[in-house]
């Protein structure tokens, strides 16, 4: 048999190749980043001055435009004075990978500059609280309402036009209003997340619920299910795995709203930390904080996927990478490779 091709339309890859590509997905951007950080003749539009020479306005450690630096060197050579010395560098907003990796640790140990500012772990905790309450409040109301909209056309007609209308209002636009109502602490931020999530959630949930196969509902009716039982015993369990996946996706959206929510009222949380660090030009800390958000989001998503797998044994939602990883680590069988039960000869 010929070797399988890397690129064939809709054909499964071998597990080895698929793992390789998964690693490559992270390695490729990292490699690109490293190239531009460590190879001095790639980009590096700035010069870091090591010795100012006779140029009186320069200091050692100064980061200036390469063009300006070259002009000073040329002037110095013409005037036969000491030319400044320096090496090519990248702008401060483009730290090298090692600096960012180091600051993944040091960001937690950097003491707040101003009194009243928070440490990174405190900021993170605040953000997580905001997200948690915002998303919980939205889900507690939004998911049941969405299920009702998807089940009863009358409720859908009554609710969805208005929900659709509010959905188009950007959540941050409610910022000032929320501060007026809820004060300046966490409450208005939670409210912004609720506004940003809730209206989408109702529509997404209603759409998912509508996808429940009508034949299942009819089958349940012929078995004697009444209205209430149809919703609770058929529609809800039938759409539960998809609802769970919707919730995972919506949680990602809630993280996006977090950033705008946190500048409302008294700025706080992770986005405030990012802004402060950017102000002090600690860009490696900025990157570290952004990467930490990414890691946090991915971890929560993967935990939810792992739990989802256990919750719905009859249906595999999006496969969890953590589960696959743990499975490999401990020699467990990956769930996707589980053999179907031997079928009875007819």
């Amino acid at each position: 048999m010929s070797r399988p091709r890397w690129f064939s339309v809709r054909q499964e890859l071998t597990p080895k190749r698929s793992r390789f590509l998964g690693v490559l997905a992270f390695m490729l951007p990292l490699a690109l980043w490293s190239l531009f950080s460590y190879i001095p003749w790639l980009w590096h539009p700035m010069v870091k001055v090591t010795a100012p020479g006779d140029v009186d306005w320069m200091r050692a450690g100064l980061l200036i435009n390469r063009h300006d630096f070259d002009k000073e060197v040329a002037t110095a050579q013409l005037a036969h004075t000491h030319a400044p010395v320096g090496f090519r560098a990248n702008p401060i907003y483009f730290p090298a990978p090692h600096a960012v990796i180091r600051s993944l640790y040091t960001a937690f140990t950097t003491a707040p500059v101003l009194k009243g500012d928070l440490w990174l772990h405190q900021s993170l905790w605040m953000s997580i609280q905001t997200i948690f309450w915002g998303f919980t409040i939205s889900s507690v109301v939004g998911i049941p309402l969405g299920i009702l909209c998807g089940s009863f056309i009358a409720i859908s007609r009554l609710t969805e036009p208005f929900v659709d209308f509010v959905r188009y209002m950007p959540a941050p636009a409610f910022g000032a209003l929320m501060v007026a109502i809820f004060g300046i602490q966490l409450e208005p931020k939670i409210a912004i997340i609720v506004i940003g999530t809730f209206f989408q959630q109702v529509l997404v949930v209603a759409n998912t619920v509508r996808k429940v196969d009508c034949a299942l509902i009819e089958a349940a009716q012929t078995l004697g299910s009444k209205r209430r039982q149809l919703v609770l015993r058929v529609i809800v369990p039938a759409s539960l795995p998809d609802l769970y996946n919707d919730t995972r996706i919506l949680l990602g959206w809630a993280w996006t709203y977090l950033i705008v929510a946190e500048v409302v009222g008294v700025s706080s949380g992770i986005s405030f930390f990012i802004n402060q660090q950017a102000k002090y030009r600690n860009f490696d800390n900025v990157y570290a904080a952004i990467i930490i958000i990414g890691i946090l989001g991915l971890t929560i998503d993967q935990i939810l996927a792992f739990v989802g797998h256990r919750l719905f044994p009859w249906k595999n939602p999006r496969p969890s990478r953590i589960r696959a990883f743990l499975g490999k680590l401990f020699g467990l069988r990956p769930a996707s490779a589980e053999k179907p039960v031997q079928l009875l000869p007819q």
């Binding site: 196969d213 034949a215 299942l216 009819e218 089958a219 349940a220 009716q221 012929t222 078995l223 004697g224 299910s225 009444k226 039982q229 015993r233 058929v234 369990p237 039938a238 539960l240 719905f312 044994p313 009859w314 249906k315 179907p340 039960v341 079928l343 009875l344 007819q346």
Partner: protein, 298 residues
Amino acid sequence: MSEPLPDYRDQSPAVAARFAKIKERPVVLEIDRLGRQFPGEHGPVVALHDISFKVHRREFVCVIGPSGCGKSTLIRIIAGLDEPTSGRMLVDGKETSGPCPERGMVFQGYTLFPWLTVKKNVMFGLKMQGMDGGQADREARQWIDLVGLTRFADTYPAQLSGGMKQRTAIARALAANPRVLLMDEPFGALDAQTRAQMQSHLLEIWRNVDVTILFITHDLDEAIFLADRILVLKAHPGEVQEVIEVPVPRPRNLSQLNSPEFLATRRRLEELIHPRVDAHAHEHLPIIRLTQVGDDVE
């Protein structure tokens, strides 16, 4: 030259006695001048017109007809999933409408609840009727044993083959203790071999359970093999064309497929369902010859 086929109306004494016995039993399902119209672009389209028939207790009736004759509409109306525009329906002499477990249904597309195991699927109807868990569990096990899925009681439907799914669906419908079991082309999606096994299996179940079956199919052999009587519908509008009492004796087995009574019935059904093939001669496809002269396959 084989001997000519008997008339499909000729019944052996045993078969005639059996039909006489069936007619003495009480009528379970009565359909009385049932009609169904759908709104169409050029006025209402009549899907079913003036359908009347009676089904006796423990009778096996097949409904057959060309595509578009409204077989599925008819069974959906009887199941209560669609409303008739005229006429009425009686179960045990009482007029009824709307879905109800007394008229159980087995669908072509299985429609098992994928989040429930085989046993829980079978228990569904019992739970809906308010039976407590323990008793529902015991009853469900009986039905699962009856359809031969004992080993698969705790399996999810996704792991079952088509035939096993349909057996689960039959057990689920029977567990709710229906007066009439409605089956809408239940074996249509199965391969020929599984289908034949399911037909024998269904007859076996029917013989052992107090249930009346109304079975829709477009397969002539299936209808003759299973039915006591065959209700032949015609299309545009959907009307009862003829009711045939199948002269093939019971118990049925596959070797009867070539018996004279079977072939006679089959020929009659073909006449009714595919009338005068030459009438459609003008429908021949305008095929252009794309092969070389002399390169013929026939």
